[in-house]
Each structure stands twice: as structure tokens, then as C-alpha cells.
């Protein structure tokens, strides 16, 4: 597990108030973690803050799972 994943996981657990073991790479924010579309926007803002990056709106739309988020964050970080 990468450091990025662990940091993403921490944010997801805090923001969505979910059990840590539910936050796997394959977990879908909406279907598995109880998020709605507004939660997702807020989560992405928290990721941007944590990693000091900016995730483009078009990219945000493709983030459905925790793994998607980790991949996009790594990509944006270069």
C-alpha cells in the first residue's frame, strides 16, 4: 500500500465517517461508502488541500473508487 493511499484513506474515514477497513482501493465512494455527489466534491477538495494539487473538473468526474482517486493524485503529482 502506498503512502498516497494511506493519506487518502485517512481523509475518507474522517469525511464520510466510515470504518477504516471498508476503505479499500476497489471501494466505490457512492455505492460502498455512502457518499453523495456533494460529498465527492468535498472529498476532492480535501485531497487537493492534502497533496497541494489541483484536480481538473473533467478528471474529477472519472473518480468513482478510492483507487481512482489514488491514481489521479499520483498522476497529478507527476
Amino acid at each position: 500500500m502506498s503512502d498516497v493511499f494511506e493519506r487518502v484513506k485517512k481523509i475518507v474515514v474522517e469525511n464520510l465517517e466510515v470504518e477504516a477497513d471498508k476503505v479499500t482501493e476497489a471501494a466505490s465512494f457512492i455505492d460502498d461508502l455512502g457518499a453523495d455527489s456533494l460529498d465527492l466534491v468535498e472529498l476532492v477538495m480535501a485531497f487537493e488541500e492534502e497533496f497541494g494539487i489541483e484536480i481538473e473538473d473533467e478528471v474529477q468526474e472519472n473518480i468513482r473508487t478510492v483507487g481512482d482517486a489514488v491514481t489521479e493524485i499520483k498522476k497529478t503529482q507527476g
Partner: protein
């Protein structure tokens, strides 16, 4: 006409975070006033308010077993999505609903249970904070929850989502008359048959720098008692100099009488009459002759099929402003004529300050509790009345008294007036 009774009460006030302790402390003559600890007041002319004591320590709640526990409103995640006024409103609604014991089971019961909770200002602190974020960090830092956290009807929305109430979902915004209008309009929805149960009231969590600066600019706040906050709210007293900013929420469960009887619900009081009027005079000052308040009271009595002589107690609007207090009392005197003798009134704002959009609802709750407990709350700090009246203004100490019928008045900026008549239910 279907009869409407009060079967649940929920309160978050500057005295305590719940109904029982708020009422007890009110009757004991305690004050919820204090120096503002929420934000810097160095450059503000008014440095005091009636803040809700929180278990987290703010508002003087540290170590107070009756302080407001924010978890009562919902989880940290739920609270992050809503403005402070919604936090107070959701907590008061939860207490009122639990107190009533009403849990709709069928789809039909859910559709006959509605919510109508208003607010005077809504999410002003959230608007102020977000404006700052936008200015300093740009639009990408604006929270997706900003708008739904600040919209006034979202308290009704959140309560309906939380409790599954699918009946009329509505809200009121009439400044300081909001809470009274919410209760009166809800009673009418029940009378008309649109709902059997309404969760009704007002909430206000707007204490922030921009709000204090704004009210202070309009010269409406007390500024002479910054070093003695508990003496600031003094309706009818000759030294009064403005109102004390308050926060909190009052929510009632209103229910059709037969519906309540059938399930054996406890009843606090009956909502017998409701009157409304407009001053058509000035944005912040009442008409000099108090005719707006007069007509609201007159209409409420007419709907209640009562005469002034039937009324034992008036919970007044009495905000402790130099102009408004006496105008209201004079209007009551004109309406009541000879029957002012033996009438009691008090302003509970002397204890909890002015809760703006929540005031009318909290005061209707206090009026219902006064009726139920045969006890009139005091007008604190009334040491030297600025005018003479034959009405007992209940100075300084609460007074035991049988109350068959009571009035509760609320007036708001814009010249909007509401009056409610509540009556005792003898089983």
C-alpha cells in the same frame, strides 16, 4: 374546525441545551447573558450576547450538565453540512419529537406529518465565512455544502429527511416574528386538514461579527452594559438601551386534538387563536400607536372566540428597546380596556435575550409551559419602570398563577406582527 394542541416541546436556549433546564432556570430568574466568546469584539460597540452554552465549552457551557450537546443534532459529518441555525433547529426538533412520542409508521401517517421551521437570518455566519474564503482563496475552495448550509428552509428539509416526515415542508422568514408565524401557519395547516401533525418553530444561529456590526449600526443593540451583561436586557426599565442578541431554537409538535387523544399523548396546551398584521409604517420601528400589534392580538382573540377579559397572561415581544416596549404595552392597554386589571405580562427576553427568528417559538413554548405549570416567568432587571401601567409586569421574580388563556406576541422588522392565543386543556 379541527382543534390543534401542543404535544411536544424542544428547546435550545441561552439558559440550557434542553427544555426542562431552560424552563427551570427561567423560573429561577437566571440570565443567559454573557460576554461574547465566539469572536473578537474589540472594535464592536456591543460586546455581549445571550449565547447557547455548549458542552464543548463555548458560551460558558464548560462543566454545565445541562449545556447543549451538539451530538443531539446529528453526527459530526451531518453537522458539517449545515449552518449553526440548522444545528440548533435539528436538536430542538429531535427533542420535541421525542417528547411527543409520535413516530409515524405508515406511509399515510408520514405524509400527514409535516415540518415548518423558520429562521430570521439563516446562515449568516456561513455566508460571511464563505465570502472570506472566496476572496482569499478563490471559488475552488467554496464548499459544495455552502448553499444548503445557509438556506433558511433547509432546517425543515433536514428535519424531514432525518425523521422521514413527508407532509407539508415549509418555512417562514419574518424577522423576529418568524417563530410565531411558523406555529400559527402550522396550526392552520392542521385545521385545514393538510396535516395531522406539524413540527413547527424557529431557529437562529446567526451570532457573528457581521450580524453584531449590522444590528449595532441600526442602533438596536444594548451597548451600555458591556461590563454587566446580565443587566443588559431590561424590558420596561428606564435604563433599557437596546436588545441583547440571542441564539437558539424552539420547536413544538402541533397535533390535531383527536389524533393526540387517540394515542394518549400528553398535551401541554391548545393553540386557540392566531392573528397577523402589517404596520405599513417603517422598516425597523413599530407604528407609534402600536396598531399593528393591536390588530394581530385582536385577530388572534377573535379566532379563539375569546375576549380580552379571558386572558390571564401575555408573553410580550418586549425586546428592551427604548421605543418598542412601551408601544406594545399601550396597545395591550387599549385592547384590554378595563380588563387590564388583573392581567399579568412578562418579557422572557429579559432572561434569554432576543432570539430573533427563534424568539416567537421559544416564547410560545415558554407560554405553553406557563399555562401547564401555572407559573409566570419574570421580567428580569425591571427595577424602575419607565412608565406607569395597571398591568402586573411581573418584575424580577416569577409568580405562581393559574392561567386559563394566554397570549404570546412577536413583532418583526418590516412591520410584521403575529400573536398566538394558547389555552389550558383540562382532561
Amino acid at each position: 374546525m379541527r382543534r390543534v394542541v401542543i404535544t411536544g416541546i424542544g428547546l435550545v436556549t441561552p439558559l440550557a441545551g434542553n427544555r426542562e433546564a431552560s424552563w427551570e432556570r427561567l423560573i429561577e430568574g437566571r440570565s443567559g447573558a454573557q460576554k461574547i466568546d465566539l469572536f473578537d469584539t474589540d472594535d464592536l460597540s456591543c460586546k455581549i450576547a445571550a449565547q447557547v452554552p455548549w458542552t464543548t465549552g463555548r458560551g460558558g457551557g464548560e462543566g454545565d450538565p445541562e449545556a447543549f450537546d451538539p451530538d443531539r443534532a446529528g453526527s459530526a459529518k451531518e453537522r458539517r453540512r449545515v449552518g449553526e441555525f440548522i444545528v440548533y433547529g435539528m436538536a430542538a426538533a429531535a427533542e420535541a419529537i421525542e417528547d411527543s412520542g409520535w413516530v409515524p409508521q405508515t406511509e399515510e401517517e408520514k405524509c400527514m406529518t409535516g415540518v415548518l421551521i423558520g429562521s430570521g437570518i439563516g446562515g449568516l455566519p456561513e455566508i460571511a465565512e464563505t465570502a472570506k474564503i472566496l476572496e482569499e482563496s478563490g471559488p475552488r475552495k467554496v464548499s459544495p455544502f455552502f448553499i444548503p448550509s445557509a438556506l433558511i428552509n433547509l432546517c425543515s428539509g433536514q428535519v424531514s429527511i432525518k425523521h422521514g416526515f413527508k407532509g407539508p415542508n415549509h418555512s417562514v422568514v419574518t424577522a423576529c416574528a418568524t417563530g410565531a408565524h411558523a406555529i400559527g401557519d402550522s396550526a392552520r395547516l392542521i385545521q385545514y386538514g393538510d396535516a395531522d401533525v406539524m413540527v413547527a418553530g424557529g431557529t437562529e444561529g446567526s451570532l457573528c461579527r457581521i450580524a453584531v456590526a449590522g444590528f449595532a449600526a441600526a442602533k438596536t443593540l444594548s451597548t451600555k452594559f458591556n461590563d454587566e451583561p446580565e443587566r443588559a436586557s431590561r424590558p420596561y426599565d428606564k435604563d433599557r438601551d437596546g436588545f441583547l442578541f440571542g441564539e437558539g431554537a424552539g420547536v413544538l409538535v402541533l397535533e390535531e386534538y383527536e389524533h393526540a387523544k387517540k394515542r394518549g399523548a400528553k398535551i401541554y396546551a391548545e393553540v386557540l387563536g392566531y392573528g397577523l398584521s402589517g404596520d405599513a409604517h417603517h422598516i425597523t420601528s413599530p407604528a407609534e400607536d402600536g396598531n399593528g400589534g393591536y390588530r394581530a392580538m385582536e385577530m388572534a382573540l377573535r379566532h379563539a372566540k375569546l375576549t380580552p377579559a379571558d386572558i390571564d397572561y401575555v408573553n410580550t415581544h418586549g425586546t428592551s428597546t427604548p421605543v418598542g416596549d412601551e408601544i406594545e404595552v399601550r396597545a395591550i392597554e387599549r385592547l384590554f380596556g378595563e380588563s387590564v386589571k388583573g392581567l399579568s405580562l412578562s418579557s422572557t427576553k429579559s432572561s434569554i435575550g432576543h432570539l430573533l427568528g427563534a424568539a416567537g417559538a421559544v416564547e410560545a413554548a415558554f407560554t405553553a409551559l406557563a399555562v401547564k405549570n401555572s407559573m409566570i416567568p419574570p421580567t428580569l432587571n425591571l427595577e424602575n419602570p419607565s412608565f406607569e401601567s395597571e398591568i402586573d409586569l411581573t418584575p424580577l421574580k416569577s409568580k405562581a398563577r393559574e392561567i386559563k388563556y394566554a397570549l404570546s406576541n412577536s413583532f418583526g422588522f418590516g412591520g410584521t406582527n403575529a400573536a398566538l392565543v394558547l389555552g389550558r386543556i383540562d382532561d
